[in-house]
Amino acid sequence: MNLLEIKNLKMDFGADAEALRAVDGVSLVIGAGETVCLVGESGCGKTVTALSIARLVPTPPANYVGGEILLNGQDVLKMSNGELRGIRGGVVSYVFQEPGASLNPVFRIGNQIRESLKLHKPEKATNEEVIRLLKLVGIPAPESRIKNYPFEMSGGMQQRVMIAMALASEPKLLVADEPTTALDVTIQAQILDLLSDLKRRLGMAILLITHNLGIVGDMADRVAVMYAGQIVELSPAKELLRRPLHPYTKALMASVPKLHGTADRLSAIPGNVPRIGNFPPGCRFAPRCPIARPECSEKIPELVEVEAGRFVRCPFWKNERENITAEAPRRGDK
């Protein structure tokens, strides 16, 4: 049994006539101890997919219209509030993008970590354990830090506190939603190193969400590329980086910031990201796809396993004639 199995998940914002499909048939498996990256441009549905794992998207406005999210074999979408509270923190923990905003500003960080411990490991809810956790995430002089309020710490330190808090309950899966986007470049690398290091030592699975394909190579076992609410390519990380198959992945690769670790939004792909409720018919990437043909807009392509372990949502992935590398100079001209 896999740790997490998302099967054909469909989620709308709003109901009935006003429903806008934000997640459209996403399937994703994460095994115990595995690191999976979810990449895609802003607004493609990464965060709502990730939050759905612990059913953290408020309903309403959200509305789950299909699919299953099996966590340890149990469907999260069918759980009672009590069961949900058990898996939140207990099985899956979150680290968010803005560490300054995800820590409660009026409580001391030691108290906030202890609160998590009290909930999930009541026998360990002590200052010693809090200090041990802060040490684990590399906060210097943790004894003096537990009395700090969040605003007394730098962004990087705050994110370490968030990670410590996420680890306090010893989760099986850590969801890190763009954990470094809000941080300075040098700090970004430190936080990513910390995550890889923790994963090696603690063996939990990680779902890492990012805009930046550049950090995928160092972290991920597998990569899921999302576009307009759908997964368009799913592949082992190394192979995807060596040889992307979907035209969108190729475009993403071409737009990776060359300086390792920078977090520029992926804006280099020509054309606009389609808004939810306004997805083009057929293949959603068609308006921006360099090799699009008329039949692409007729029906939505299936996500097909084209090679062992490699899934692509494009029937024309083999088309090597006009790939992105041929496209790149043209973009450079203007």
Binding site: L51, A54, R88, G89, A101, P105, V106
Partner: protein, 321 residues
């Protein structure tokens, strides 16, 4: 901490000086003084009036009057009420206490009702409860204090459940102490409710919007993501933050309450500072007017100071700066 308190109290002095000076100036702009009316009285000789005027320095320019007044105030003497023929201090202390009582209970009623209602409306956003609360707030914000006071008077007269005006019954002094307490409370209830009502709607709406804001904050999602129960998330993590912006309006709420008290006291015949100010003003009992204004300012400044202390106590980001 104590140096901060001391500094704030020190800041009060120039403010009170300015306010009293301005009041003297404004009083001097109005024609005549307390004894102008007496001149019309054939029973009192103009000599006597002139002597009285000189005794109270009313024959001097206003700034000279001001310095005489100030000199006495520094010695703890707030002058003499020409209309009541008693020292202003003894008059003001009782009235100040009445206004304090009225405002204090209005404050407790207003915040005590508005905060739970606001929380309730926010937690049940868009439900019929929320709609009923906003309708109630809309009505509360559109009815002026004057109308509400008159309605309350009419209500008291029509039902006979409450005394019509005043702070105690005529027989107060002959009552046993337990009944004296009840008598005062009975007189206090209606004006306090009227005064509270004007403030309540605003506080409730503010509470609702603050809590809705914090409920959208990322640390609330983060708290839920850690498995905390919804009640804990709302009442500990969200509410604790929503209270801070409310404490900043606590000072304004006091100011609104005091100016509201001025109206309510005058219409509902509550013997407080507002009513005294009004009476003194029309009688041109000039030293008393200045005393009243200074006292009201002092009350306001101290109230704001208390609000600031509360906020500092509640918000570490302010306390530690």
């Amino acid at each position: 901490m104590w140096s901060y308190v001391f500094k704030r109290l020190l800041h009060m002095i120039p403010l009170l000086l300015g306010v009293s000076l301005l009041t003297f100036l404004l009083m001097s702009l109005a024609p005549g003084n307390y004894y102008t009316a007496l001149l019309q009285n054939p029973q009192i000789s103009p000599d006597t009036v002139a002597r009285l005027k000189a005794q109270f320095h009313l024959d001097q320019p206003w700034y000279v009057q001001y310095f005489y007044w100030l000199k006495n105030v520094v010695r703890g003497d707030f002058g003499y009420s020409m209309a009541y023929h008693i020292p202003a201090t003894s008059l003001i202390v009782g009235r100040l206490w009445n206004t304090f009582l009225l405002s204090f209970f209005a404050l407790i009623i207003a915040w005590g009702v508005a905060i739970p209602l606001g929380i309730w409306a926010a937690v049940n956003k868009d439900s019929w409860i929320d709609r009923a609360c906003s309708l109630f707030a809309f009505v509360g914000l559109s009815v002026p204090d004057v109308l509400l006071s008159l309605l309350a008077l009419w209500f008291a007269a029509a039902t006979g459940w409450f005394p019509v005006g005043g702070a105690q019954s005529p027989l107060y002094d002959f009552l046993p102490s337990a009944q004296q307490f009840w008598d005062r409370a009975h007189h206090l209830i209606l004006p306090a409710i009227v005064l509270a009502a004007s403030d309540l709607a605003g506080i409730m709406r503010r509470m609702r919007s603050c809590l809705l804001d914090t409920l959208r904050a990322e640390y609330v999602t983060a708290a839920r993501a850690r498995g905390l129960g919804e009640g804990w998330v709302v009442y500990k993590h969200a509410l604790r933050n929503a209270i801070n912006p409310l404490l900043t309006i606590f000072g304004y709420s006091l100011a609104a309450l005091l100016s509201g008290a001025f109206i309510v006291e005058n219409i509902m015949a509550w013997p407080g500072l507002g009513r005294l100010t009004m009476e003194a003003f029309f009688a041109k009992d000039s030293y008393l007017v200045v005393d009243c204004v200074v006292m009201a300012t002092g009350l306001l400044v101290i109230g704001n100071f208390v609000a600031d202390l509360l906020l500092a106590w509640s918000d570490p980001r302010i306390r530690l700066k």
